[in-house]
Subunit: 449 residues, 2 copies
């Protein structure tokens, strides 16, 4: 039994729905289908979810909302007409939207319910279309599927009892289509996951039914070894481990947010990234453990900008038991989450995302460190980019650091920071952001060409 | 005004005392002389201080102590006779020793007082010899010099009021000879510094009198760029900054313990390491800041064995605010001082000296980390060596990491760990200890040949 999740671009218009239907027909084991809301059809297009969010805010604030409403309904009408589905279905979607807007839910809950209508509609349309294509298919509400959650500021959190409920879905006959992105609380209130939440729903269903495979359909043939915006036609990755995926997606791999896959990872279910527009391409498998050692020990190079580092030095720091703990305590008290914290004898650097340390907080942290830890120096280094060179086999291979540093030297990129050995699957380099493209090109050349 | 400190080998026998006298004569600004106890004359020889410690312990435990007593007094007698000094001086030393042993001091204080007799005697002998050489010189008790301390388990700690007292010594006429290694509490009890304490006395006097230079006379021509036990005749270092010295001496540079120099460092007094046996060699200057940029940005390569690392991994570690703090808190509670702690996204390595983590403590720490932090993995990696490549100019120089990693690759040494960027003056490599000599040879070749 497989779970297949189709992202926003896979259900952006009627033609995409047809591709999805063909993919489902092709493999009888694709039994549980999770869908996103319709995404962009072209660069300047709107995502249905963004339109719904704007509609909800405008409605709640008594602002003009009609244009959003019409844009949304026009979009669904076009899809439904082009798929030759009944007007009744369009009415059903419109009623859902109206009823939700005028319901007596609390504002925050109402907003969540409005946001979720994109996925609801995708699932309704797909299940109806599959039926016209002669497939025994049915729509299933996430509540009936067993996705029970708790509301939380950072998005709905799944309750563990869900997995047992979801396991019962195995007895369903035919194809089951479930909207992604949301669940219900025990009180029956709809609650959405964080953004990218359809991936979460897919991973939850896969874990719950103990799927043999979780297929994640997107609009790329595979996960690439490096950002295609920097290198044209980069090498595709055939197999990745969870840990490799996590290190890569940490630093700017945008296929999906790796944390969305946690439920599948925890249940040790293999994940396959595939392309709705080219389903015969083999895609990228993400697994707990590779069966064979690969020839290449580097599988990918990820990078991201928008980091700064806090450099702290104090004479005799490493003799001062408790220094590290006190420093981290200050960060914790100020709710600053840090990325890396390489330390030397008398120095320590703490790398944070810019978003974690806006200027006012930066000032506060710097002065707390100075005053409470009596340091000699606290300085901030800005405009950093991080590069992660990732691969499970790296740890045992002599010369990996050499290959990387030689490549960066050739690109005339000064290495501000190297962190190797703390992770067994990656090597981290910190450089000035303005050298990033040069650096990545040279690293790609060294490891993949 | 200069302070000159002469180490144990510089006063090991009469001939060495003569060299010291000549060095003092040569430069009228060498006004304050600090001496160690007589050290080894040859490899199998005993240091006077070690003999005194054994004498003290034997005496206090009612064991046979006469042989130590005789060995010590014979040694002083030989020095005094060969320097043609009076028998009265020998009597004075012997009385000091006898009176200390039979005094009614508490055991611990008595032991400190016995240990200090080596330095006391060196200073007595040197001042007497200088007088016979026509130099106006006098012995000065550390109490009279103003070295006021507090007793502490890790050695005497200087009280800050000492510096004002010591400053008054500037008015003394002639050469002042002060025994190193000890001071007095406000109650008049003698207390010794930690081992290497004559260096501390020298640095304190230099800071107190605001010396233009603190000369540290040893038995090597200079600080070397790499351990001479691994590389024959390595390049000498002409100028070092305090920070460079600290990073080098951290990892096995044994000229002196860098922490002994802290009082001089804090007072920004330049330190010169010179050779009593070859005083015309220019030695190594250790300064707060170099006047000119050096051509070479690497000044030295230090290394040390006897490290292990605790590797901790936990999925989503970097999202868990407080993880680092909790980990360091466990180390703090168990009184484990760590050396470096490079961290990745979901991993962290903590490098500790073997001595900090004996097997029973290791077991305790591993189980506390597992239980309290709910980590996925905690493993111990043993037999590590650390290599520090040190130089103030490194930060701005492209290709330093490249040169080092290429050299290690050539030596077929696998790099377990790289930590660059947390310190502005060093780059750290962790390797398996059995590859150390190979690694150092290759790095030395790359940076210095």
């Amino acid at each position: 039994m497989k779970v297949a999740k189709f992202g926003g671009s896979s259900v952006a218009d009627a033609n995409q729905f047809k591709k999805v239907s063909n993919i489902i027909k092709e493999d009888k084991s694709r039994k549980f289908i999770v869908v996103s809301a319709p995404g962009k059809r072209f660069d300047a297009d709107f995502k249905i979810t963004d339109l719904l969010i704007q509609l909800g805010h405008a409605y709640l604030n008594d602002e003009k909302y009609k244009s959003y409403y019409i844009t949304i309904m026009d979009r669904f009408q076009k899809i439904i007409e082009e798929l030759n589905l009944t007007e009744q279905l369009l009415k059903e979607i419109e009623n859902k939207l109206k009823n939700t807007l005028t319901s007596d839910l609390a504002d925050h809950d109402k907003l969540d319910s409005v946001k979720a209508i994109g996925e609801y509609s995708s699932a309704k349309i797909l299940s109806a279309y599959l039926q016209t294509e002669g497939i025994k298919a049915k729509y299933m509400n996430p509540k009936d599927a067993g996705i029970i959650v708790e509301k939380d500021a950072s998005g709905a959190q799944l309750l563990p009892e869900s997995f047992n409920l979801i396991y019962k879905l195995r007895d369903e006959e035919g194809v089951v289509v479930i909207p992604g992105f949301y669940g219900y609380t025990n009180d029956g209130i709809l609650a959405t996951f964080s953004r990218g939440g359809s991936d979460i729903t897919g991973a939850i269903i896969a874990a719950g039914i103990k799927a043999e495979l979780y297929e994640n359909f997107t609009d790329v043939d595979s996960v690439y070894s490096v950002n295609p915006a920097i290198i044209e036609n980069p090498k595709e990755i055939r197999v990745l481990t969870y840990r490799e995926m996590r290190e890569l997606s940490y630093a700017g791999f945008s296929v999906f947010h790796d944390e969305a896959l946690i439920p599948a990872f925890n249940a040790k279910i293999p994940v396959c990234v595939k392309n709705t527009n080219n389903p015969s391409a083999s895609g990228t498998m993400i697994v707990a453990k590779k069966e064979e050692k690969e020839e290449k020990c580097v599988v990918g190079i990820a990078s991201d900008t928008g980091f700064k580092s806090i450099y702290v030095s104090k004479f005799l720091m490493n003799r001062e038991i408790g220094f590290g703990r006190k420093l981290f305590q200050i960060l914790e008290e100020e709710q600053v989450s840090y990325e890396h914290a390489p330390s030397g004898i008398d120095d320590m650097s703490i790398i944070v995302r810019d978003s974690q340390l806006p200027d006012d907080k930066e000032e506060l942290i710097v002065s707390r460190i100075k005053n409470e830890l009596k340091t000699d120096t606290v300085t901030i280094h800005r405009d950093l980019a991080l590069i992660m060179v990732v691969g499970e086999g790296m740890k045992e291979t002599i010369g990996m650091a050499q290959t990387a540093t030689v490549a960066l030297g050739k690109a005339k990129v000064n290495i501000e920071m190297i962190n190797q050995g703390s992770s067994e699957v990656s090597m981290m380099f910190g450089i000035k952001a303005n050298g990033l493209n040069r650096a990545i090109k040279s690293l790609y050349h060294a490891f993949f060409e």
